[in-house]
């Protein structure tokens, strides 16, 4: 439970963080809330030689309207998403997903940027971004670029974020009072999801994100196509796992995960929000 040795650097600005990343390359990891990085360092699943702490970077904790979108600063904590009336009115799916992350302590430390950049398929927020067709904004030495969430996840704990880039913002379209659903199945309270499903209605169809149904957060593309074809909800739900390749582990067999995805999608389509 002791992490491997590492050097600690504290960035005071995004620019400084980028400079430090340029200096240390992929030897470095960025530290935000620390609730994903520190445990995997303790388990020695990660052993960065340098940890760059973003705790001193100001101006990255915000939720603000920007045209048809809501822009959220990367260092915004889950608890701020959970308690934001503005987010609740504009993107209730995301607010709800933030309210079921981990436990109270985790939601007070963890950040949306950390959760999204970490790339854990068991994380809740990325599935909501998938359902919302959100965008990730990253900043590097050559400036900012926007990455659609569909292009962001490359593999297990692997993202399109370059070694010298910092995730600075998450953008999601306003969905107002359109139907949505979020379902999270756990074997024990406050655990990670064994399987989760996020659903957001949109013009002519809807977006569906899957938690823990493969090496990355996944889009249930086949089910979405059926939605666009106006298939009945139960028929759509039967396609929840069509694009997934879930693993079997001590918590669930692949077959059980597939079954859960179908049941949970049916509930999410019916507007169910699990706690």
């Amino acid at each position: 439970m002791i992490p491997a040795a590492f050097a600690y650097r504290r960035a005071e600005s995004v620019a400084e963080a980028i400079e430090l990343l340029a200096e240390y390359g992929d030897e470095a990891k960025l530290l935000a809330g620390g609730h994903s990085l520190l445990p995997i360092m303790k388990f020695r699943l990660a052993a960065p030689s340098v940890v760059i702490d973003l705790g001193g970077v100001g101006g990255l904790d915000y939720i603000r309207a920007d045209g048809d979108e809501i822009a959220i600063g990367a260092l915004t904590r889950h608890v701020d998403l959970e308690t934001s009336a503005e987010l609740g009115a504009a993107v209730p799916l995301l607010r709800h997903a933030a309210s079921v992350v981990g436990d109270c302590q985790i939601r007070h430390r963890g950040t949306i940027g950390g959760s999204v950049a970490h790339g854990d398929p068991a994380a809740d927020l990325p599935s909501a971004l998938m359902a919302l067709r959100g965008t990730v904004v990253v900043e590097g030495p050559s400036g900012r670029r926007e990455i659609p969430i569909d292009d962001f996840y490359l593999g297990f704990l692997e993202t399109a974020l370059g070694p010298d880039e910092v995730l600075v913002e998450v953008r999601v379209p306003r969905r107002g009072d359109r139907p949505w659903g979020f379902q999270k199945f756990r074997r024990r309270s406050i655990d990670w999801a064994i399987v989760g499903v996020a659903y957001q209605s949109e013009d002519g169809g809807g977006g569906i994100g899957l938690v823990n149904m493969g090496p990355t957060t996944l889009r249930a593309a086949t089910a979405e196509a059926a939605l666009r074809g106006a298939a009945a909800p139960d028929d759509v739900a039967q396609l929840a796992d069509a694009d997934a390749d879930p693993i079997g582990d001590a918590s669930a067999t692949p077959e059980y995960r597939r079954h859960l995805a179908r049941v949970l999608l049916a509930r999410a389509l019916a507007g169910g929000a699990s706690t």
């Binding site: 002791i2 436990d103 074997r187 024990r188 309270s189 655990d191 669930a252 079954h259 949970l264």
Partner: protein, 745 residues
């Protein structure tokens, strides 16, 4: 306030557990363990010793040739401190110590390549154990560690069974489960001029002290420590001798040897896996005429507690309904997988699940009320205890059942609120029987305690070799002593003393604290009070029966003259208590559940527990024991397990996947005790509650799932996936498929 002797230091992080108590400077030690199930092992000690910071590396060659039992109460001597034959994945083949934790971690990272394992044929399931194509441990031919019987002759029982109008047989299966203590096992050792100092988190420190003194032929003093959860997992002697060997090899230097969380989860000890088969013959009124119980538990390669846990499971299964012809067989079978060990309930969680789900199945066949079938068959005072052959006494099983029926009436009638809002509700009940002493006719349970008065401060100190593990024994002993002495509770301190020659109490196990240790404390307290009066009388030159002590214990008077207590010489008295009576304690528990038939998820909404705790000495403490046990029982019922991989290793690695229930989402628990309970006849009159309270939870939950979904869960834990499989295949409903005449099987 003395009310929570351990609460304040624990809440403030000031309580010293082994890893805190072993003073700096110290060497840091860790175990070297195997990966394969069964193998011949060689350790490259020279390479390990050459690693930076490593001070000592030891393997089998450093160990005395004699084998010992990790069960401090005595078991088969089948274990070497470091083995050269690894007999399960994670078996202990050596240990090393380094100057600091970082060097230790570095050395451990290298060690996998420095331990060579040559595979041997392995026993990787109970089926393998029975076919005996391989031997898990040559000490156990045919892989049989134990094969014991209690009650009637088996042929007579089969005959009686066949003579009954109806028969029912059911088999329940159990996955093993580790203890999940917050404090990992650790041990410290240092050799000084006057012998050894050892730091041990053992639940049985006095026994460990004496065993280590024997093993090392030296004086051993155990240092006082808190224990961060035991639950039976700290009833095994594993790390202490290894720490002493490391220290000896380093010239007596102080060493702290710690286990890892992975070792505690996947390689230490577990609640036993295995199966229990129950057959009952009964008539149309549901009266049992004959019962056969067959317990088969997986021991792993060493005996440890396994033979006694299996035997205790048979005892519990037989005792609940002892009427008619009852027989029970228990077997512990050797395999090359995670060893079973002592775990709160000591086989009774499994036995109760087996028997009580079976009874519900019979009730369902007959269309009998679930309370009524139990009422007709439960043990009554005077019934012969199949385990001891003696009449049961001072028991009130039916009183527990009736009180549960009254308390539960409203629970059963109302639908619980809360998450999930949808689903199918059900409720189930379970009876249970526990003991209040680790006693048998040929093996009395025995406790010694000392009480001393420090006249200057007016404080009374209770000296015990029992450790506080969070079970609340110190607040309880404090209360017993304060009441007997007539002193305010903060004038009484409980002191952990495990030096050689200190009062000998074997420790925390068998739900014996309130009954056995408590009775010794009560006797010592009364003796101390008598001695104070006698000393005062002597100084006043009057007879002891004419003096009295004021309420504050400041002066002793004879009406005319007085002596100040502060002027007395220090007084220390010892007392003991011994009993051969197991002190049977019945209870009845109910669980209400909500099941999600689409995901298989089971959520416990409410638990009602009624216990015969004899004389309740500390209602808050007893209630807390029950509440904690309910939580642990829910874990046993629904989520906690060690999952075997095909190679015999365990998939779970720590609290991320060993799913101990968390504080969020726990049910309301209602606890009550029989108001006019019969005492055990011991000095305190208290009965055991610590284990009783966990025994029926899984069975009640299993029966509740049965009533909610109409399928019988026959395997623990009842995971969502299992429930779903049962629902998908209701044709395999076991309560029907076992409907054959047992005599034919």
């Amino acid at each position: 306030m003395a009310r929570t002797v351990d609460g304040r230091p624990k809440a403030r992080g000031e309580a010293e557990f082994v890893a805190d108590a072993v003073e700096q400077p110290r060497l840091f030690g860790a175990l070297l363990t195997t990966r394969t199930a069964h193998c011949r092992v060689t350790v490259d000690l020279d390479a390990l010793r050459a690693l930076p910071g490593v001070v000592v590396a030891l393997d089998h060659d450093s160990v005395p040739a004699t084998l010992y039992s990790t069960n401090p109460h005595g078991g088969s001597a089948d274990t070497s401190v470091f083995t050269d034959i690894g007999r399960y994945p994670g078996d202990i083949v050596g240990a090393l110590a380094a100057r600091d934790r970082r060097s230790l971690q570095h050395a451990l990272d290298q060690s996998a390549e420095l331990i060579t394992e040559q595979p041997l044929p392995a026993v990787l399931s109970l089926e393998d154990a029975f076919t005996a194509n391989a031997e898990a441990n040559p000490q156990y031919p045919g892989n049989v560690v134990s094969d014991l019987r209690i009650g009637a002759d088996e042929a007579a029982a089969r005959e009686a069974l066949a003579a009954c109008a109806y028969q029912h047989t059911s088999t329940t299966w159990f996955e093993p489960s580790p203890h999940g203590c917050l404090e990992r096992l650790a041990a410290g050792a240092e050799r000084g001029q006057d012998g050894w100092r050892v730091w041990s988190p053992s639940q049985c420190p006095a026994l460990v002290r004496d065993l280590l003194a024997d093993m090392f032929a030296a004086d051993v003093r155990l240092e006082p420590v808190f224990v961060g959860g035991g639950f039976g997992g700290k009833e095994e002697l594993t790390l202490e001798p290894a720490a002493m060997l490391l220290s000896a090899a380093a010239g007596g230097t102080r060493v702290l040897l710690e286990s890892s969380r992975r070792q505690m989860t996947a390689a230490h000890r577990a609640r036993h896996g295995g199966y229990i088969r129950v057959s009952t013959g009964y008539d149309r009124d549901g009266i049992f005429g004959a019962r056969l119980v067959d317990v088969v538990f997986e021991a792993g390669p060493y005996d440890g507690h396994s033979s006694t846990v299996a035997a205790n499971a048979a005892n519990a299964a037989a005792r609940l309904y002892p009427r008619g012809t009852v027989t029970a067989r228990s077997r512990a079978m050797a395999t090359n997988r995670l060893p079973g060990g002592a775990f709160r309930g000591y086989g009774s969680i499994q036995a109760t699940f087996a028997v009580e789900t079976h009874v519900d199945e019979i009730a369902a066949r007959l269309g009998l009320d679930r309370f009524e079938i139990r009422r007709r068959n439960l043990a009554r005072a005077g019934d012969v205890d199949p385990a001891t052959g003696l009449p049961m006494h001072d028991i009130d099983a039916i009183g527990c059942l009736d009180q549960l029926a009254r308390t539960a009436r409203t629970v059963i009638a109302t639908r619980a609120s809360g998450e999930p809002s949808e689903g199918l509700d059900g409720w189930g009940i379970s009876m249970l029987v526990s003991t209040s002493a680790a006693a048998g006719a040929d093996k009395p349970d025995h406790a010694e305690v000392a009480c001393r008065l420090e006249p200057g401060s007016g404080t009374v100190i209770v000296e015990t070799s029992v450790a506080e593990a969070g079970q609340g024994i110190y607040p309880l002993l404090n209360r017993i002593a304060a009441n007997a002495l007539g002193l305010d509770r903060d004038r009484v301190l409980v002191e952990h003393d495990v030096r050689a020659g200190s009062p000998n109490d074997p420790g925390m196990f068998g739900s014996r604290g309130a009954n056995v240790t408590g009775s010794a404390v009560l006797r010592a307290s009364m003796a101390l009070r008598r001695e104070v009066l006698a000393r005062g009388a002597r100084l006043l030159a009057v007879a002891p029966d004419v003096v009295e002590l004021d309420a504050e214990w400041t002066v002793i008077r004879d009406g005319q003259h007085e002596v100040k207590v502060s002027e007395l010489d220090p007084i220390r008295v010892c007392a003991e208590y011994a009993t051969t009576d197991p002190g049977l304690a019945f209870g009845a528990q109910l669980a209400q559940v909500r099941c999600d038939p689409r995901t298989g998820a089971v959520r416990v909404q409410r638990v009602v527990a009624v216990h015969d705790a004899g004389v309740v000495l500390d209602e808050d403490g007893a209630r807390a024991q029950v509440e904690g046990a309910v939580v642990q029982g829910i874990g046993a019922a629904l989520s906690e397990r060690a999952t075997f991989r095909p190679d015999g290793s365990i998939a779970e690695s720590g609290f991320v996947n060993h799913l101990v229930p968390t504080a969020v989402g726990l049910p309301a628990v209602s606890v009550s005790f029989l108001p006019a309970a019969a005492s055990t006849g011991s000095t305190t009159g208290a009965k055991g509650i610590g284990e009783a309270a966990i025994m029926g939870i899984a069975a009640a939950i299993g029966n509740a799932v049965g009533s909610a979904l109409g399928v019988r869960a026959r395997e623990l834990p009842i995971t969502g996936e299992r429930v779903l499989r049962l629902l998908e295949n209701t044709t395999r409903d076991a309560s029907r498929s076992d409907d054959e005449r047992v005599a034919a099987s």
